[in-house]
Amino acid sequence: MKHILDRLYKVSRNAVCASVLMVSAAASAQSGPDYDDILAGFADPERWLTYSGDYSGKRHSPLTQITPDNVDQLRPVWTFQTGTTTRGRGFETTPLADDGILYVTGSNNYAWAIDARSGRAFWSYRRNLPSDLTYGASAPVNRGFGMLGDRLFMVTLDAHLMAFDRRSGDVLWERELADYQVGYSATLAPLVLDNKVIVGISGGEYRTRGFIDAFDPVSGERLWRFNTIPGPGEPGSETWPDDPEILASGGGGTWMNGSYDPELDLLYWGVGNPNPDYYGDLRPGDNLYSNSLVALDPDTGELQWHYQFTPHDLNDWDSNHMPVLADIDWKGEPRKVVMVGNRNGFFYVLDRVTGELLLGKPFTATTWAREIGEDGRPIVLNDGSQGCVPDPWGSTNFMPPTFYPGLDLFILTARETCATFIPEVPANTPGQSNFGGTVHIDAEQGSGALRALDVHTGELVWEFTYPSPTFGGVLSTASGLVFAGDHEGNFMAFNAETGENLWHYQTGSRIWGAAAMTFMLDGRQMVLIASGTTLTAFALPE
């Protein structure tokens, strides 16, 4: 653990840097947001500057113009057609909003700057991708831009990080993260900290080794790398076979965004499945830091603590979820916690200073395990070979949940599924997916629900059920509303306290991986959702 004085020094240094930057921002009214603006989160109601709206990952907006009483008046204002499809996956982006302009990434590495008033594009970009993409070909998605000053940052399906000029869409620089031909890709929205752009990598279904990278936003220089699978002799390597080749291709993707606590100066990030996904005999042990939440020092990338949700995963239950940070009362004491709704079917509350497990409780009918033992490890009842555990897409997935402060509800999309895993010796061919077996999914037994959990107990407070397993993300607003999407294409609003459905709009395509965002524009609260090939903006009548 880093010394507390280091942290205090860092906080004050940040404050000094921020005030210097603010002076330069004032000198040029055209400049985009600086680190201080992102740090301020939702303070400016006309901005949405980072993937979750702020660093905490709560996806809880303070806006209150749209209320449970008037939300039935919500109507589309415009629809933007992207012209690019991802059949089988989704349009997963969260737009960024600043000065009336939306910065949006799309599938197949398209990107746009869009007039938030009209839905018309200022510029568009399409990356000329190689024809032999590996993982990027099967999941050609992107979740959004990161932004700092006049720069936008986007990762690509051929595993690069790019910087753009936000006004022209011109490419400023690009850096290779890893060799896509081995199986790497990148899909997340870069997380911008103070003079750092943090990114993760996709490709855990291939013979890859996951990492989290930090880059200098101006020069594009790589500042550090944290490898999610340790090297030989490094801490954590004792949870793997003593074989450099296995470690070098142990998976552990980092393809979903992380969150950041500026006070503790800690970065929180989820790590994906070990490789091969379903065949564990080649990798006896817990396989750290796969299926874990890691807390890193953002200056160095050094690991501060970790918690592994699914030791020795055999079911492709990546822990690539949005870590949600909140300060709550915990049994009479104020506590800094991080919350995760996990693909393995459990909802977790951890102390985010120390990584101590406070609560782990199932939120679906998962038969994999029903409780966490005294030692903090799951008591596994069924590894999947005996049938009917959550499918490889999980009890939930990367679609962002929301935390509603005050109500202390963690609201997430739950998937009830039934799968049997059939492991097989894998071929271990670089450049080819390497699942190590197959899955039989009983489609008749699938359903979905929006579920609100009491974060103190993990108990279900309310739910709204869907006919099929769903991938839509969730947003809440301080007026007592929850916005969610479903697999049948509905974009919906609910009463946050009761779960009562108050409004819905059929977007025409499943809402897959995307969560809504909201901001004020000319005195009107806008709510945006990506679905299929379209981005639609909603507002109350003028």
């Binding site: 089988g88 070909a137 099967s138 050609p140 899955v439 294409g489 509905n490």
Partner: protein, 251 residues
């Protein structure tokens, strides 16, 4: 005349390479293709190749009969992927792809094999009397049940016999029975075509497509019994059923 056989000899290998799997009939190829399929394809298409509808991965056991694909078509799809979809291109060797094609040919639903002889003309009359109100063959007939024009190429004799004698044993998606009572008190019986949390889309028993908002319904029931009547042997003798299958198989 002497030129023609020569031309055929020269051109036939190329012609064959474009249409026929060179490994066809080799059981080792199908076996190896099966292993490759389970490692590389099954996550989307399922271990049984029957597809996963939630991610638009199609049932590959039905593609040959439903879509009349050639081996070369399937080869090309594996090689090139499907642009704009989750199906990626693959850099397998040609031999590996042909092994996959062999496996897929192997698991393809073979349809009716060993159909006993029957009187197809009598089958046609019986079909018109018992089946055509709900089922269509070559463009003639109803829509409440599945189109049976190619059914003998897609389902085994055993499963077809079960579907006639015990129609509720397996009801295909799109034909699940449904009974609703509307806000105005009308009882509507039919089959469910689609639904979401707020609405349902059905075909009523008069074969009219109808959409309802769930909140405007007084009740919504999902009976386990198929709308198709049970055709016991007293209603439709075994030879009569064979006659109908002969009529269908002639298509």
């Amino acid at each position: 005349m002497a030129l023609l056989p020569m031309l055929l000899l020269v051109s036939s290998p190329a012609l064959l390479a474009q249409t026929v799997n060179p490994l066809e009939g080799d059981p080792r190829a199908a076996f190896a293709g099966g292993a490759l399929f389970r490692a590389q394809c099954a996550t989307c298409h399922g271990a049984d190749a029957k597809g996963i509808s939630s991610i638009d991965a199609p049932d590959l056991t039905l593609m040959w009969s439903q879509r009349q694909l050639s081996a070369q078509d399937v080869f090309d799809t594996i090689r090139n992927g499907i642009a704009g979809s989750i199906m990626p291109p693959h850099d397998f060797t040609d031999t590996e792809i042909w092994m996959l094609v062999s496996h897929l040919q192997n698991v393809a639903v073979a349809g009716v094999i060993g159909l006993p002889d029957g009187d197809a003309a009598n089958g046609q009359r019986l079909f018109a009397r018992h089946c055509a109100e709900c089922h269509r063959v070559r463009g003639e007939g109803g829509s409440l049940g599945p189109d049976l024009s190619t059914i003998t190429a897609r389902r085994s004799l055993e499963s077809l016999l079960i579907s006639v004698r015990d129609p509720s044993a397996l009801i295909a998606p799109g034909y699940k029975p449904l009974t609703v009572i509307t806000g105005s008190g009308e009882t509507v019986q039919g089959v469910l075509k689609s639904e979401d949390a707020f609405s349902l889309q059905m075909m009523d028993s008069n074969q009219r497509l109808r959409g309802f908002r769930k909140q405007q319904l007084r009740s919504l029931e999902r009976p386990q019994q198929s709308l198709m009547p049970v055709f016991s042997e007293s209603l439709l003798g075994q030879q009569e059923l064979i006659d109908i299958l002969n009529f269908l198989d002639r298509n």
